[in-house]
């Protein structure tokens, strides 16, 4: 039985996936124009994949890494609502690189991905405006506890941006920028009877937002009231049950009740189970088999077999494999060896360590 299983699981095409991400870092065709306003997020998925594959140094050179660091710092922008990172330079007038207007404000999600990307690129963060970053976080928090994507009441607000605010505070090791006591009830209000968490109150439970909720709750500082055990025993059981039931016949996870499997949910649901201490409940052989079939012939991993790949699904598939690698009964190929992941902030343990030792800086009096 184990011989057959070993024969059945294809190799993880590491070289192809690294190549896919490297190419996307350099440019994209016009069909991908809708990613233009999210370039710093895309950069993270590409760099993160190379990091997970342990291919950053071998596939890129010093000049390129320096270039990317510089480009990311160009998105570091200050203004009346504090400091953060813009999604890209697309709306920045060339004469006004330092202070933003309402049209090119920093963005909560890309501030999070910028910090991780710079950590992957081993930046020393000497340029980071930490007081400004705290001011930005404060400017984004709403009365209901959630966070806007942009300061001064701009953009959407839901549990995803809330997670980013928590992750940024955690990396800064400074929680004075957010009101945790106000945020926690919002997160709790997103919980559904299914056991997962929706994007906002009244929504159906969804894998991605369940991860955001759980990671936020587990990241919350020791001073917050829910620290220790954010969920009751019954809630924990219910959430685990919903997550486990999201792994379908194909081996992949779906994101919502009775939907199709999608590679990205292999991470969102898989990482959630890891955070809840229930990773043993994932059928890793089936998971690996599904992700193997999501691989695109010319590199990159797609959301499901037969679809086109992209860095987002490539990164999250690799991250899922990192947490739930196929066991020796399924494969003995080293192609499936991925660097260990810090599931709370969603980057390799090595990068997380770099982030936590370089981002905080001196203790700030705010």
């Amino acid at each position: 039985m184990s011989d057959e299983a070993t024969l059945q699981l294809p190799l993880l095409a590491r070289v192809g996936h690294a190549q896919h991400c490297k190419i996307c870092l350099q440019g994209l065709p016009s069909s991908q124009v809708d990613v233009d306003s999210a370039r710093l997020a895309l950069a993270f998925y590409c760099l993160g994949s190379l990091d997970l594959l342990n291919s950053l140094e071998s596939r890129t050179n010093d000049f390129e890494r320096q270039d990317w660091r510089e480009w990311i710092w160009e998105q570091h922008t200050q203004g009346r609502y504090g400091t953060g990172f813009k999604p890209s330079s697309y709306m920045t007038p060339s004469h006004n690189l330092d202070n933003y207007t309402e049209f090119d404000a920093p963005h909560m999600i890309t501030t999070y991905t910028a910090l991780l990307s710079l950590s992957i690129l081993k930046d020393d963060f000497s340029r980071l405006d930490r007081p400004g970053l705290l001011k930005f976080l404060r400017a984004c928090q709403k009365d209901d506890g959630s966070f806007y994507t942009e300061p001064g009441q701009g953009g959407d607000s839901d549990i995803r941006t809330t997670y980013c605010a928590f992750a940024i505070s955690s990396m800064l090791d400074d929680w004075s920028g957010i009101d945790v006591d106000r945020a926690i009830p919002y997160i709790t209000a997103c919980r559904t009877y299914e056991g997962g968490y929706g994007q906002s109150p009244f929504c159906e439970a969804q894998g991605g937002t369940t991860y955001c909720a759980l990671a936020s709750l587990y990241l919350a500082p020791s001073s917050s009231p829910i620290r220790g055990e954010p969920l009751t025993a019954q809630q924990r059981r219910q959430t685990i049950r919903w997550l486990v039931h999201n792994q379908g016949q194909s081996g992949g996870f779906h994101g919502r009740t009775e939907k199709e499997a999608d590679a990205c949910y292999c991470f969102w649901c898989g990482a959630s189970l890891e955070l809840l201490g229930a990773k043993d409940l994932v059928t890793t052989s089936a998971l690996a088999s599904f992700l193997a079939r999501c691989q695109f012939k010319f590199g990159g991993i797609a959301k499901s077999p037969g679809e086109h790949p992209d860095p987002y699904h490539t990164y999250l598939s690799l991250a899922a494999i990192s947490i739930h690698p196929p066991g020796p009964d399924t494969t003995t190929s080293t192609s499936w060896n991925i660097k260990p992941l810090d599931a709370l902030i969603n980057t390799t343990k090595e990068t997380a360590e770099w982030a936590r030792s370089h981002i905080p800086g001196q203790k700030i009096k705010s």
């Binding site: 124009v33 159906e204 919502r256």
Partner: protein, 268 residues
């Protein structure tokens, strides 16, 4: 990131394709630059407005251009217009974005823009009664219709369900909540595996039981019958089992409380 399968192509075809790509990218960048400088000069003209239309057709995710477009309306187009003209302008915004939604049903910014338009419809056409809300009612009613069409196309589009909840809550003249129950029944009967509809149903019931508009005990028999039918139709479907869990969980709590109230009132 669309799921279009690749087809093999000749060298010439690939070369021509590459040229077209480069032309497209060049156009896009030129348009972006133009709008960027106009925005910097606080250009609130109709010309700028039309340019944002072009760019948003190419890239509806370009959210700052949606912001600029709204600024143009507020600073340039609205001030010299009568309430009637403003209503007309917003109505055409809504039909333009309906077309955009068909092509991009999950782009949050389009839904967001519609929301802004609806919230800015002026009072009128008249001064009192139904007339006072006339324009608003017409636009909000149409909005509900648009959401229904979106849900017909993709019954699990949760942005659309979310938006539907927002529309129902915000309409100037509210629909009775029971009519939403009927809507969920219709969606469920079309497809038992539509968990989003079951989910909406649980929300509507919770609201109706909370307000005392419906008696949970009376509802339960009908609900269990519906659930039984769905289970027989497709026992492998997660949706109905999940709904059943809700029904015997929170649903049951209401029923229990309702039963206690009844007991209490007969005892008095």
């Amino acid at each position: 990131m669309h799921g279009v399968k690749r087809v093999g192509q000749s060298k010439e075809a690939l070369g021509a394709k590459k040229q077209r790509e480069q032309a497209k990218i060049k156009d896009y960048l030129a348009l972006t630059d133009d709008l960027l400088s106009r925005k910097k000069d606080k250009d609130w003209s109709k010309e700028a407005f039309d340019l944002t239309t072009r760019l948003l057709q190419v890239n509806p995710e370009f959210y700052t251009i949606w912001n600029y477009r709204r600024s143009i309306m507020l600073n340039g187009l609205f001030p010299p217009s009568s309430p009637e003209e403003i209503n007309s302008l917003l109505a055409s915004e809504l039909s333009m974005t309906t077309a955009a939604l068909k092509a991009h049903p999950k782009v949050y910014w389009i839904w967001n823009h519609r929301q802004w338009c609806l919230e800015n419809v002026p009072e009128g056409p008249g001064q009192d009664g139904a007339d006072f809300h006339g324009w608003r009612k017409a636009n909000w009613d149409r909005e509900l219709y648009v959401v229904e069409k979106m849900l017909d196309a993709d019954a699990r589009n949760f942005l659309a369900w979310n938006y539907r909840r927002y529309v129902l809550a915000s309409m100037p003249i509210q629909r009775p909540k029971v009519s939403e129950l009927t809507y969920t029944t219709r969606k469920i009967e079309t497809n038992f595996s539509n968990f989003s509809a079951w989910h909406q149903r649980s929300k509507v019931y919770t609201s109706l039981w909370d307000s005392g508009s419906l008696d949970p005990i009376k509802c339960q028999e009908e609900e269990f019958e519906l659930v039984r039918n769905a289970m027989y139709t497709d026992p492998n479907d997660q949706s109905v089992w999940m709904y059943h869990r809700w029904l015997v969980g929170s649903g049951k709590l209401y029923i229990t409380v309702g039963a206690l109230r009844q007991l209490n009132s007969t005892a008095l």
